[in-house]
Symmetry: C2
Amino acid sequence: MHFKVRAAAKEDCKDISRMIMELAVYENMPDQVKTSHEDLERDGFSPNPFYECLIAEVPDEHKTKDGKGIGTGLMAKVAQVGVEKQCVRLQLSVLDWNKPSLDFYIAKGAEDLTAKEGWHFLRFHGQTLDTLAKEAPKD
Amino acid sequence: MHFKVRAAAKEDCKDISRMIMELAVYENMPDQVKTSHEDLERDGFSPNPFYECLIAEVPDEHKTKDGKGIGTGLMAKVAQVGVEKQCVRLQLSVLDWNKPSLDFYIAKGAEDLTAKEGWHFLRFHGQTLDTLAKEAPKD
């Protein structure tokens, strides 16, 4: 089959926003999505963007949930972009019950650093982030 | 006591590199440090930098290992910079045996997402990263 992986454009932000929500629903945490497509447009397409994004363009007849190498193609392209920019690591976080994704990444050679080295993942957000920010020393 | 938190300059990269190694030694993984101070200079001080960094300037007489609010000052400044840029999350990873750091972050209001939601931390690096990159579809 044919599909194309390309850099996202500003016009893709509504679709990216929809896919972020679809992922969050799958992960049972739709209430955690606070980012609108306007935020994505501002953060990804200003002079010094906060993120880059890749899009897989898939012909209509191949739009099924079967594996067609699209996931691998996207991951591999992210790795290629990283290697070209001299990055030495590609890191990601996965929910422990998301066995299909964990198996996929491990099969591709990823190390589970939580299992192997004991890394925990911590987050400040909402009120705790604001409170912490207010403790900053004056310039 | 007086200390100042300021944005890092290119001239700080040798000190930043030394502190990265000091942290890695504390974490029992000095062999994982692959980043030189030249890499830090290139990645942080080019037109579209990959990272930002804060430096705490501490008077000589206060350079002890006792808590003096310097760690909180640094963390709080990171939070402040993030909030100003409209970030909604501040995330970090901590080793499970690093009880002093875990306790510090939790006391400041961080949530342990590995314990609470089951997030695992995965990494591609070295040969697995190169192999993955080579699977990228052609443009």
